[in-house]
Symmetry: C2
Subunit: 339 residues, 2 copies
DNA sequence: TTGAAAGCGCTAACAG
DNA sequence: CTGTTAGCGCTTTCAA
């Protein structure tokens, strides 16, 4: 039992006894059609279960496809998942569909996805770029009219629209909050690679806050904790030092989760913590976690808005939209330094 | 400055001085080609920045498009995000790309996405169906050879492959764990609607465990907590009763988060809790949360495997794959009933 | 108000 | 080893 050929516009036309073009007119509501034929056509469409082939349509009309390509590091990460959802909700209203892929922080995989998306003639491309990727190769595509928006971090080798959190201000604010609690040895647990935009910016904010308070910058207090496990270990090691920190700024959600875990393992409830990026359980933990909250849905919405404006003909120069972070004080940041 | 027309196969052919078909042969490696022409063609492809139009190719070859349609309730939900990632990783190896959308638990939105995906001639369709959706309309598409796989819950009106967690066994095991701790009044906090497959199954497991232990089933101990806020309130209300429960089985991750929140608000650390679906902070909380863990990545992988097998010609009857859950004992389930 | 012809970018089928 | 012709399913263009 071979799969039956799917019914086409012609099948419908034949069924009704009109030309294919007439069916097309009825379905797309362009040319004029008599009420009679319209009715007959619609009935036949229903009867045969006809579904127009969007790709065939597209190839003829020549424009870009009604899809938007989106590349994020990992779909399982709720931060990026929520960004994606924000994008989807915004482009849905324009009848656009998401073509999605995870780069897994691998530049080659990212590159492969971009190639595929371009081959599919996406209307726009949105990428949370991996650290080592180069995007110069996107120039041709963009100069032929396809909007490119970078998410969370700017791309390399290509000036394009970009949506980021207020990383530096957030890092500064979170650190200042700890300093206000009279902490003087504040560790920074960051992700990798060290050159990663978000890490760099948040670290810069951390340093600005130290400087503003006249505190020295101690490089040895800046450690790596890219995964939850790594951050937990890093935390434990920090606390074993001769001169341990009394407070920690965790530079992203995974680092923060690991830090919480590490503190729990070390049995330390006297270490202050501020997490960059809010955590699902922040208010249930004891102490509740003070966080520099990002707004991933707003990031997605802003990215979509930028791209749609470009599709509508906006030819102004590339913009960077900064979505503000918000310090949510809950308690973990206010533990007094135990000296 | 109008957008320049994108370069086509013909442009490349002309540039080199061969026919379009020759370029096609070089690029797709089907027919034989001399090393010389191949080289010249590839150089021209590079020079002109040619990218083949996948949709045009597709329309000619006639088969389904090299995309897979995936519909989940919410991309921001890490459970479904991880399922999606599992699917993506599996289909990538076959050169398939994900077309994705969120149903937002709205049957109409789900239906619209399905229609779009069918119009795009996806190779396969994977859906975590909304509670009230009907899928009879998918029969035509499926009988024309397109695999359909339901995720997390079976679809309605259509017998198709399906991948679910061992909901009933998990519910039973989680409840039995509480009973083993000598609890006799165990509440069930579930999501909505009441008819939702996962809720029904988990509740059935809960009842089986009660029955096996000779405990009565008390309907008043089964309450709704679909969102985190709702579950928190439900928990507080439960504990205010004349005869409060001494233990709680939370039927999904949101309910569990809310329950934890409710317990914290009520200042009750003496209520035992088992969460269906593991929580990111489970081991950091005090007490650490005992969970019936699901395996979303495995669910995604299994779904992809089913769909790919169908694409490879598997015509056996529809299967339901059950991905086992795993009880992770951490402490919260072993609080003794305080009488 | 409708139809016929041509063609979007690509490949199948045949020829050379 | 390469080119030609035809046509995928649809829409544009022009004519009736």
């Amino acid at each position: 039992m071979a799969a039956p050929r799917r019914t086409t516009l012609h099948d419908v036309a034949q069924e009704v006894g009109v030309s294919a073009k007439t069916v097309s007119r009825v379905l797309n509501g362009d040319g004029p059609t008599s009420a009679q034929t319209r009715e007959k056509v619609l009935a036949a469409v229903e009867r045969l279960g006809f579904q127009p082939n969007l790709m065939a349509r597209n190839i003829r009309t020549g424009g870009p496809d009604t899809t938007v390509g989106l590349i994020i590091p990992d779909m399982g990460n709720p931060f990026f998942g929520t960004v994606a959802r924000g994008i989807e909700d915004a482009i849905r209203e324009r009848g656009l569909t998401l073509l999605m892929g995870s780069s897994a922080d691998d530049p080659d995989r990212e590159r492969a996805l971009i190639t595929t998306f371009l081959a599919r003639r996406v209307s726009a491309l949105m990428v949370a770029p991996t650290a080592r990727a180069d995007h110069a190769h996107l120039r041709t595509a963009r100069s032929s009219g396809m909007p490119v928006v970078f998410l969370d971090r700017p791309g390399a080798g290509l000036t394009a629209d970009c949506v980021v959190s207020s990383n530096r201000a957030g890092g500064r604010e979170g650190t200042a909050h700890l300093i206000a609690g009279r902490h003087r040895r504040i560790a920074f647990i960051g992700d990798r690679p060290v050159g990663l935009f978000t890490r760099r910016e948040r670290l810069a904010g951390y340093r600005e806050a130290l400087e503003a308070a006249g505190l020295p910058y101690d490089r040895s207090l800046v450690v790596d904790g890219h995964t939850q496990a790594e951050a937990a270990e890093a935390t434990v090691r920090l606390l074993r030092r001769a001169e341990p920190p009394t407070a920690i700024l965790a530079a992203n959600n995974l680092s923060a989760m690991g830090t919480v875990l590490g503190l729990a393992r070390a049995g330390r409830r006297d270490i202050a913590l501020v997490s960059f990026d809010d955590l699902p359980f922040a208010e249930v933990l004891e102490p509740a976690i003070t966080a520099v909250a990002q707004d991933p849905a707003a990031i997605g919405a802003a990215a979509a808005e930028l791209a749609l404006a470009r599709l509508d003909g906006d030819r102004t120069r590339a913009r960077t939209v900064t979505v503000p972070t918000r310090l949510i004080v809950r308690g973990s940041g206010e533990l007094p330094p135990g000296t």
